[in-house]
């Protein structure tokens, strides 16, 4: 289960329920909890390492509604490194057209409103509120 450190919501639609009664948020938080428990230390190198482990674990889920490390610019998916693009850790596509972005935060970092707005406008500037952004910690 999530340990109460996640759940910074923005937007209107909820994430879909997963198998075994878990929400996607809970599933991803469990992955992060596992990584946090098995990776010691602090600092940017550890943070990068945790991000890589997290994305690899998400990729291993084999869930076709999830994409990892996708870059967006003004509503367009673009190639890695495109100038001005915003790269998200994990994005979940819902059947109703809304999406949820899971942003992993490590160390003392937290999800800010400006980061949420940046992500929403990068993914769907025509209807930013259709993009939910959730912090995984």
């Amino acid at each position: 289960m999530a340990k109460g450190r996640s759940g910074f919501f923005s937007g209107t639609a909820g994430s879909g329920a997963e198998g075994a009664g878990k929400t996607m948020q809970q599933t991803l938080q469990e992955l992060a909890d596992d990584i946090n428990a098995n990776t010691s230390g602090n600092g940017p190198v550890v943070g990068t390492n945790k991000h890589s482990q997290f994305k690899a674990k998400v990729d291993a889920l084999g869930n076709t509604n999830l994409k990892t490390e996708q870059t967006f610019l003004n509503g367009q998916p673009v190639s890695y490194g495109t100038k001005g693009g915003v790269r998200v850790d994990v994005i979940e596509y819902h059947p109703n057209g809304t999406v949820t972005v899971y942003d992993l935060k490590t160390g003392g970092a937290t999800l800010t409103q400006s980061r949420i707005t940046q992500i929403q406008n990068a993914i769907n500037p025509t209807n930013p509120s259709s993009v939910i952004v959730i912090q995984i910690k």
Binding site: N65, N74, G75, Y80, T126, S129
Partner: protein, 218 residues
Amino acid sequence: MDKKLIKKLIKNEFGEFLHTEGFVSKSETLFLKVTPDNVLHIINFDLGSIGFTCAIAMQPLYTFEHTKVVSLSMGERLSRFRIVQKEWWSYDEPEKGVSEIKELLIKNGLPWFEQYGTPFGIVEFIATGKVKEYGLKLFDSFHQKQYLGFSLLYTGRIDEGIKCIYELISEISDTAAEFILTYKGQLVDLITQIKNQPDKTLIIIDDIVKENKRCLKI
């Protein structure tokens, strides 16, 4: 991980092969082909933090855009294009990954370009609901309407194209980002112009193509 090695493998495995398929190398990881009827075929390798992957996409160059970039909207990573597997290939086995990508490109990617990579093909692909069948998660409703509307205009189905672009306009919410609201106004002007002077449609579309090509440097 050695990204230089991956780039070298990509060049060796795909450079000549894609050249014979009409693609031009735009960078070490991006291959583009402009068809005679102005559809851009895209093969893009991403070298990420957990591995590497390759996406294919199509982009109609006759679409009036707010942001002029090589867009992967109408596309998908080959690892999720008509099949389901891990999205990323490991840096631990670069040769194996590059080889598997090439297989998938030949099996699923190039035939898709061949079958649907024209203005008429794009209309068919979107209008007959192939988006779901092929698993294109990134190709959202907005871009589907945008590409369909302009493809209809380009293929001479003016009334249907106008209708589709009005539907596109109605999808833009009042809370849209500022640049999208500007784009909405430009779309309204454009479609009004086409509605009033349908015989000028091809001239208008031709200007859009020229501008997109200029901005994308292709």
